[in-house]
Symmetry: C2
Subunit: 643 residues, 2 copies
């Protein structure tokens, strides 16, 4: 690897094909997200009413360099007439590039039936093209498509570029084309850095499918898939590559999403990748290096656990939330000194109930009821954690702060959830708990909830990757597992993420495809705040005695459980009586019960983990959803009620 | 094949797993769609709060038989203790079946690591199970899963059932498991019909992917995919199978769609499959056999072409539609005698403009502007065509009819579009044109539009299969090709359907995934009524002279066209001047221009086909969409306007 002192400054770029909109929309989004440059994807330009000189001026105004024009397809040909037509086509494209003010074009390996299979002839034809380019002050970057007719590995494309031996001809490396075929990227280090004219980065999930379809539909931004891109990038940098890190991601979702939001996600992915690869992220790009020793972003924070979950309620949902907390053994222990916020506590489990319901405009259910609005995380250095979050493009949340109130650092997650970094025991400005006046109330004995075990946040199906990257890069949570299961109203996708210590677990959940909104017969995608206990049956008895709205579990379910598993009859009878569920795996047991959906879109879970059980009991979600549907039907039948 | 006279009556069933909802929702939907019976999918029952006796009673009330309880997994085992536990589990399930009042259970081949590979041992274990079943008056239907550890072909499952030789043991055939592996279904005819205990039917698209994922996510109802199910069913009937035709379709979309609508789609698929397979569809199921000779549904109609497209307009959009028609050379030739409907004509191209805008409640854009509300098709026997549509579960549209007005038969397509069957030249009650009083106006000379060439209807991404089956089974249109292309605001999917004569072409188009609704920056999914001409340049000149709102095509586009194709310079100059586009394929040329989006969600296209060109010029849609976006931005900037 090249020593850090000789590394060129990080420059980032994005191919316009990655995001949605007209060319004009895309340029604005790329600039706003902080990219240094763009690759102009030819169809975006062809469909645009903006002339090449005007595109050049627009980019200059936006502070964007045009790093590449792409793609030029099917240059080489065994048919001389066709090759002549291809050179004519290239000349026309050089005209466009000249007007755009860019000097580098991507030529990808041919996929046509007349593609050349002879390295010498391909090199000769590329050499001819490079001659014409050089005469106009331009350069050719040759890329092996993974599905090229004959040239489909970077090794072969490099053999050809080396054989052509032309100063205006270099290679383009694309992580997808290389890693999707299982090529060993270590060989990149043998390529002279100055012959690597361009670098395109894309991640992807591992999929057992046609490679072209995989590439065209399922690429992801770095850090969202399963490729080892940090290692890949290290090889490229070790080779001496000095150009921009540029994204080329074809993804059905990103192509139809708001480009302003997608561009931020995209840029975050390059910052995170650079840090994972190189070991640090310089902050001078964002002008904040003076606040941090060494000028680098602080590392991901050590999170000791959840400080609190903040649930916003409206007038209609407030009582159902607080009454349920009370019946689960929580006490209203604190009252915010200046805001309509209550602190409910039991052990280290804390819930803030905020009557200032802030509707999330991105949430289709956001206009009603209660929901998780914020999550507090316990960490030793909240300031550093917030600074890192900002370096990863998380916006600071502007807050009204009363005199003498804690200077809480909060950033916004992409889904609108606010993220607070807290030091509960601290004696300084981060001690948020001093903002609450003691009410003198204490929890009811016997419920025994000890902490927030995990929180499950509902995500639209097309926001999983963005949420994953945020949680990875800002909070240091890593994907533990993905699940997909059939529930009464459709398939549900789960991604569980946790930090290395296992002290913070967040689940992302939602339908696998966006619904039409015409058949959502229950509250099918509520959020879940799950509390740990060391005695699930005691907790369930206390909840039942207090009248907590526990989800009833059908007798059919217990009959099936009894057919499948060996459970002590007395224990099974207890489960039936208390609506306690069991998820048993070879690692251990997960015992739990759920509450009704409270005021719209949040419910609580109480759970006990036995043995080495991993997971969050997700496979019992279908029976919970059926129960929620029945509770909703009952509530509608009986008029307004707590549920 | 068994002679038709000995064929048992058609009985239809559906596995509850096919559709969305709780068990209770599913039973209601299946009954409402006309199914005779159901397969109870175990998880649906396990999650239900309805006891087995109550499910039995519910089904009886709904007129549904319970034809199967399924699935029982992983019976056979090399581990004797495990096998003993499996028999205990089966006994519990027999208890459930007894209470449900069903006698048939599906046992699928084992997928566990301890699955048995020895046919004799599997037969022995199945024999033991069949003994226990027989003692309780029950039967076992054994099915080879395509991904079974060892048993994964119907041939092997039949070998095992034959070896076990037990009267309470038969085979279950599933078209997906058989056809997905490429097995030859002809061998089914060698199985004695009485040993085929059950038949499950599913279609699928041809996909190059993991077979388990293919099965779990992408199955379709018969007629919606690419399997040759009519031939498959003929083999099964030829073997002497007398049980129900039952659907087992795992599909991500159907599982989250409104079950009432999905069940109708499902039932339609079985009726169509039966007809395709057997050659006729008995109507006595629907009680209408007295109206049709022989008691069979009439065949698909011969459609000679489009009679008209009916566009509903609101007050804001009416002028932009009629003004554009006028500028394209249409004349307001007729006025409906009793309704606020205008007939606009030019040659055989006819557009009805209806001021009674009927908002389509299923259409997210339905609340604004203009849209295609109805399509008239020219056919010799409108009554038979409408009767057939009803036999295929298309609802008749109730219509207000004035005295002496035509008795137009209209049915509703699943997307709400009304389908009229017409005989324009007829002198009888089907002569709809007599309902219009002649205005005396004539088309402007020179525009030269001759007919409706095709209509493109926007579909939500999850309605393609339902629309396809409707167009196949009701109108006799067959899928010609599917396209997927990148457009400015996301990928677009196109399915083109046409009748055998090529006289009726309908395109289905839309985004590949449902959008969030937050980034739909133009009118990205409007409908298109496309008119044919024999002289595109004359038509374009006339339109330009009349001031029609033609979509401007960027100079960049023509520059690229010139780089790619060989086009005569004068011709290219004409194209630039008139905004005419060209889609050139090896079959021929397609010349065309588009109008602006008119009042919300419809635009017109004018086209000329040269040579053997097939297709509808879809690949030029991205430049059209960019143009529509610019027109919209311009219109917003300049305030209310025609566009």
């Amino acid at each position: 690897m090249a020593p850090a002192t000789r590394r060129p400054p990080l420059r980032t770029a994005i191919a316009t094909v990655c995001i949605s909109g007209t060319l004009e929309d895309k340029l604005i989004a790329a600039a706003a997200a902080g990219f240094d440059g763009v690759e102009i994807f030819e169809p975006d330009f062809v469909m645009s009413a903006t002339s090449a000189p005007d595109v050049r001026a627009r980019c200059a105004d936006l502070g964007l360099s045009i790093d590449l024009y792409q793609p030029f397809r099917d240059l080489d040909s065994t048919d001389p007439d066709q090759f002549a037509r291809n050179l004519r086509r290239a000349d026309r494209k050089f005209d466009v590039m000249e007007a755009l003010g860019t000097d580098l074009v991507l030529v990808c390996s041919a996929v046509s039936p007349t593609a050349v299979d002879d390295n010498g002839l391909i090199a000769d034809q590329l050499h001819q093209l490079a001659d014409r380019a050089q005469q106009r002050g331009m350069r050719i970057s040759y890329e092996a498509l993974a599905w090229g007719t004959h040239v489909n590995t970077y090794e072969r494309s490099w053999d050809i570029v080396r054989a052509a031996d032309h100063p205006a001809l270099g290679i383009c490396l694309d992580s997808f084309h290389i890693l999707s075929r299982g090529s060993d990227p270590a060989g990149i280090e043998a390529i002279p850095g100055e012959k690597i004219f361009f670098l395109q980065l894309a991640d992807a999930p591992l999929m057992n499918m046609d490679i072209l379809q995989w590439s065209r539909h399922h690429r992801l931004f770095p850090g969202q898939g399963r490729f080892d891109l940090p290692a890949f990038l290290r090889h490229v940098l070790a080779a001496g590559y000095t150009g921009p890190l540029s994204l080329e991601v074809f993804n059905d979702v990103f192509r139809q999403s708001d480009p302003r939001r997608a561009a931020v996600d995209a840029h975050r992915s390059l910052l995170a990748l650079y840090e994972w690869s190189v070991g640090h992220l310089p902050l001078d790009r964002s002008g904040r290096s003076d606040r941090v020793p060494g000028g680098f972003a602080p590392p991901v924070p050590d999170l000791a656990g959840f400080t609190f979950a903040e649930i916003c309620v409206d007038d209609a949902s407030a009582e159902s939330v607080t009454q349920t907390l009370s019946r689960l053994g929580f006490a209203h222990t604190g009252r915010h000194r200046t805001k309509p916020v209550q602190l409910w506590s039991q052990g280290a489990a804390r819930v803030l109930v905020n009557r200032n319901r802030r509707a999330d405009p991105t949430d289709p259910n956001g206009s009603v009821g209660a929901g998780v609005a914020a999550i507090g995380f316990e960490t030793a250095d909240p300031t550093a954690a917030a600074l890192r979050a900002q370096a990863m493009l998380a916006p600071l949340v502007p807050r009204d702060r009363g005199p003498a109130e804690a200077d809480l650092s909060a950033v916004a997650a992409p889904d609108g959830t606010q993220v607070f970094f807290c030091r509960t025991g601290a004696d300084d400005a981060t001690s948020w708990i001093g903002d609450f006046a003691d009410t003198g109330q204490a929890p009811v004995p016997g419920a025994g909830l000890t902490a927030i075990d995990h929180i499950e946040l509902t995500q639209p199906f097309d926001r999983y990757e963005e949420a994953t990257l945020f949680l990875r890069s800002v909070l240091g949570l890593e994907p533990e597992y993905d699940l997909e299961f059939a529930a009464p109203f459709g398939l549900v996708r789960i991604r569980s993420m946790a930090n290395g210590a296992g002290s913070v677990r967040i689940g992302l959940s939602g339908s696998v495809l966006r619904r039409s909104g015409q058949w959502i017969p229950g509250v099918v995608e509520p959020q879940n705040v799950a509390f740990a206990t060391s005695d699930i049956f005691a907790a369930a008895r206390a909840a039942q005695a207090a009248g907590a709205p526990v989800v009833p579990v059908p007798a059919n379910f217990y009959d099936d459980l009894d057919a499948r598993l060996t459970i002590d009859p007395d224990r099974l009878a207890q489960m039936r009586a208390l609506n306690v569920l069991l998820d048993r795996t070879s690692d251990g047991d997960y015992w739990h019960f759920y509450t009704a959906v409270l005021g719209g879109r949040v419910f609580f879970e109480v759970l006990q983990r036995d043995g080495g059980y991993r997971g969050n009991g997700e496979l019992d979600a279908p029976v919970r959803m059926s129960g929620h549907r029945r509770q909703r039907i009952d509530a509608q039948a009986s008029g307004p009620a707590v549920v």
